[in-house]
């Protein structure tokens, strides 16, 4: 039986400047399916869905909904045709009530001018009972829990007659019981005949709820399978991929220098960080990184890695626990003080955190260490130039013009500036978060070499990377982060993609070493 697909997208290209978010991506969803769209951050899933929803137009390719060509339509068209997108970051006005958010844009009126609040509330209540998504219409969005707010988001699209729902990372902020409630809602909708696309990177969920899966990576669609015909490990492998061909399989030789230094590396004890909605994004985590060791943190993004690094770097406050560098408690110390204590940080958000785009390369190379380049408050321009020359030469930064604004450099070269700076100064602990993201292959090897050299020199390095190969090749020990905790910590000899993959998607839960 060949049915008309509810959604058919083919050959979709979309670029933002030099970034190709979608490259010939495709998607086919049958009616009445719960279809999972999986992939890492940056794989292009959200972009693809935005084009379905009319928020963007594709550069190439076409989009069909129930056989009708709808390429390049507007949000209004999409909503009218029954597409409803439930965004990851809720599109709800916090100061307004549930009913007000729901009727915004299609307000019921009495006498043409007055907003009929009574009708609005009634409509909300009716829809609530029909779908089982119960929520009181008068409540303010700001008073709702995350799960309740999500219910309102779903109601919002159903209110406008959505028959195809796209949910973007809906469980990212939900607790397990709330997730189960959501599944119940989705199943009910599916039984009613609606089609559901679930964007997620949580593979345990994919297995639980979906009947079909499309995997995306680096802007392309790499697989389309039935859930029943695949395994989580297989999905994980497809998602994570083998993009970077390092000398695969080569393990790092033990440096033989651990534990015999006056420095003590990094120690973290019972660290907890509470997120914006009251959930613990870091949940009682303890670990240490010895001098001369690389501890790699693997894990799908969104499990707390970002928050962990930010907390260690001093950019996020912690709710419990201690952080020690070389035995000194720096938990309450400022960023500048942590630099003093020997901390270096390669941030994952290059453009917003790591660089000041309007500043020259030379000036960016002294960010964080300005005081060592100034005497009596005046900046020593010769030393800045010297420093820049050295960094440009050692790291092959192109174009080699130290007075170019950082925004003029390619992503890879920008990253080299950051690495040159963070590793070019005296430090005992380095936080490296996605250090080779967006960097060309040759430079990747170079940066890896730098990390290994630092390790040989007795530095303690905490490496967070979404590239499993990178973590495997460089780390002495590997931890897997899952939902704010260390699911496991293994010596690299015992770790492999398969083993780690299972911890990453949550099917295996160990005790953190």
């Amino acid at each position: 039986m060949s049915e008309t697909p509810a959604i058919r997208m083919e050959g979709i290209d979309k670029s933002f400047g030099a970034v190709r978010a979608n490259r010939g991506a495709s998607l086919e969803v049958m009616p009445g399916e719960i279809h999972a769209l999986v992939g890492e951050n940056g794989a292009g899933k959200s972009t693809l869905m935005r084009m379905l929803g009319g928020l963007m137009k594709p550069d190439a390719g076409h989009v069909e909904v129930f056989g009708r060509d709808v390429t390049g339509w507007s949000t209004g068209d999409a909503i009218a045709a029954g597409i409803g997108i439930v965004h990851q970051h809720f599109m709800l006005v916090p100061t307004l009530s549930v009913a007000e958010n729901l009727v915004l844009g299609c307000e019921p009126k009495t006498q043409g001018v007055v907003l009929d609040y009574a009708r609005a509330s009634e409509d909300v209540r009716k829809l609530s009972s029909e779908t089982g998504l119960v929520i009181a219409p008068e409540r303010l969005i700001s008073d709702l829990s995350v799960g309740e707010a999500q219910r309102v988001e779903i109601l919002k699209v159903l209110f406008r007659g959505a028959r195809i729902l796209v949910l973007d990372e809906p469980t990212a902020v939900l607790s397990p019981p709330e997730v189960r409630e959501l599944w119940a809602v989705l199943r009910r909708l599916r039984d009613k005949g609606d089609t559901i696309v679930l964007i997620t990177h949580r593979l345990d969920e994919v297995v639980e709820i979906s009947s079909a899966i499309t995997v995306m990576r680096a802007g392309q669609t790499v697989a389309r399978v039935k859930t029943s015909e695949t395994t989580p490990a297989e999905i994980a492998r497809l998602m994570v991929g083998r993009e970077v061909s390092l000398s695969a399989g080569k393990r790092v030789q033990p440096s033989g220098r651990t534990g015999s230094q006056p420095n003590q590396g990094l120690e973290v004890r019972n660290l907890s960080v509470v997120g914006s909605r009251g959930i613990r994004v870091i949940d009682d985590v303890s670990f240490s990184v010895k001098p001369g060791e690389i501890l790699g943190i693997a894990g799908v993004e969104g499990n707390g890695q970002t928050e962990l690094i930010e907390a260690l770097a001093g950019l996020r406050s912690t709710s419990a626990g201690e952080i020690l560098i070389d035995g000194v408690d720096i938990t309450r110390r400022s960023v500048a003080q942590r630099h003093e204590a020997g901390l270096s940080h390669i941030p994952e958000d290059r453009l917003r955190r790591a660089l000041i785009l309007e500043y020259t390369v030379a000036n960016n190379l002294i960010l964080g260490v300005q005081k060592y380049f100034s005497s009596n408050g005046v900046i020593d321009r010769d030393r800045v130039k010297e420093n820049a020359a050295r960094a440009i030469t050692s790291f092959d930064i192109r174009p080699p013009n130290a007075l170019l604004a950082a925004r003029a450099l390619s992503g890879g070269n920008q990253q080299k500036v950051v690495v040159a700076r963070e590793m070019g100064r005296g430090f005992s602990v380095l936080l490296a978060s996605q250090p080779t993201r967006g960097v060309d292959v040759g430079a990747i090897e170079f940066i890896h070499q730098q990390l290994l050299t630092a390790r040989a020199q007795g530095k303690a390095i905490l490496l967070v990377s979404a590239e499993l190969n990178e973590v495997l090749a460089l780390s002495d020990r590997i931890a897997v982060m899952y939902r704010g905790k260390f699911a496991t910590v293994l010596p690299s000899a015992e770790a492999s993609e398969d083993v780690l993959g299972e911890y990453m998607i949550g099917t295996k839960k160990g005790s953190a070493a």
Partner: protein, 368 residues
């Protein structure tokens, strides 16, 4: 490709090549504004039945064409330089100081007080220094209020500085009217010390114009601001906060402390501008002398693209407009200049994001 082949391939250079692109982005908006001003001016002149060419010629003759007119331009440009520098300094840190008028008035008042307190015969250099410190301190105190409220309570400095304008000016008015004025006037007695020589004292062609030594001080302050912003660590931190506060925070810079410093110094610079009127021109503080200087300072900072030397040039531009209005008054009302001022500001403010969008789009810059 092995790691060793990478080192030594890049020959570091220090070509200030990017200045061409930055110059484009920086200079096009003011030029657009000039064009718009000319067109607008043409329309207004024509509506008065006059010939634009004749009027513009008269304007130039009356400002840059004769010594007295030029002297007046110099005088007005001096005050505008101070308030323009003040606003641009705040903007470099990402903060909007709209309180120039009250800071200027407070500074002038403090300078007048010092001028009264210091005995006649005090050496000029010494007296000037004391007066400037007092003026800067007064302006700085006024500027520190929005600074404190912002860092402590998150109160937006735009509203606070506007409100404070009214409050401080009312306070000064109360004090002068009640305690320190020369009868039948709203100004303080003449100062004994700190009188700045006029330009006319040096070159008699400038006779009658108010231009005085304060102009030199303005240039010195502009140079000091330039040095601070672009050559010191404090300036590095300040501009970083203005450009990308998140990156500044990552770099260990205390955003709150920078804000505090920026607004306080912004107020101090505006305050120092008071010496132009008080020490150099009338030799007393007069209620209302600062009128409009704060808002025009914003215009000057905008057209001068927040660069100390650009500010000086922009100050000259607006001073020329202002003085030019008087010169052409027989033909077209000087009020035309008020209109042009507003038009120029809107034109530049609109051109800046538009030009940036066009230029960056054309260069295919990606922000990803």
């Amino acid at each position: 490709m092995s790691a060793s082949s990478l080192a030594g391939e890049a020959k570091p250079t220090f070509a200030a090549a990017p200045w061409r692109e930055r110059a484009e982005e920086a200079l096009i908006p003011p030029l657009v504004a000039l064009l718009v001003a000319l067109i607008c001016g043409d329309l207004l002149i024509l509506s008065y039945g006059q010939s634009p060419a004749a009027v513009y010629r008269l304007l130039l003759e009356g400002t840059w064409g004769n010594a007295y007119g030029f002297g007046q331009v110099l005088y007005k440009a001096t005050t505008l330089s101070f308030t323009g520098l003040a606003v641009s300094f705040g903007l470099r840190a990402g903060l909007f100081n709209i309180g120039g008028e009250s800071q200027l008035a407070a500074g002038g008042f403090a300078a007048a007080l010092m001028g009264l307190v210091l005995p006649a015969g005090t050496p000029l250099f010494f007296a000037l220094l004391i007066c400037m410190i007092a003026a800067g301190a007064a302006g700085g105190v006024v500027g520190s209020v929005p600074a404190y409220l912002k860092t402590r309570f998150g109160a937006h400095e735009v509203i606070v500085t506007i409100m404070l304008n009214f409050i401080v000016l009312a306070l000064l008015n109360w004090f002068i009217a009640g305690h320190l004025h020369v009868p039948e006037t709203l100004h303080t007695p003449e100062i004994h010390a700190g009188v700045l020589p006029r330009l006319a004292d040096i070159d008699s062609r400038f006779h009658g114009s108010a231009a005085n030594l304060a102009l030199i001080v303005a240039v010195l302050i502009a140079t000091a601001v330039w040095f601070y912003l672009f050559r010191t660590r404090g300036g590095y931190d300040l501009r970083a906060v203005g450009l990308q506060p998140q990156a500044a925070e990552y770099g260990g810079i205390s955003v709150n402390r920078v804000w505090m410093r920026a607004l306080t110094f912004s107020g101090a610079i505006a305050g120092m501008g008071g010496i132009n009127y008080v020490l150099g021109y009338k030799h007393y503080y007069e209620d209302g002398f600062a009128s409009g200087a704060g808002f025009l300072g914003i215009a000057v900072a905008l057209v001068g693209r927040n660069h100390p030397f650009g500010v000086i040039i922009a100050a000259f531009f607006f001073a020329t407009l202002s003085q030019g209005g008087l010169a052409i008054h027989a033909f077209v009302p000087k009020q035309m200049m008020d209109v042009l001022q507003g038009v120029v500001i809107i034109a530049v403010a609109t051109a800046v994001p538009e030009v940036r969008r066009i230029l960056r789009g054309a260069r295919g810059r990606s922000d990803a």
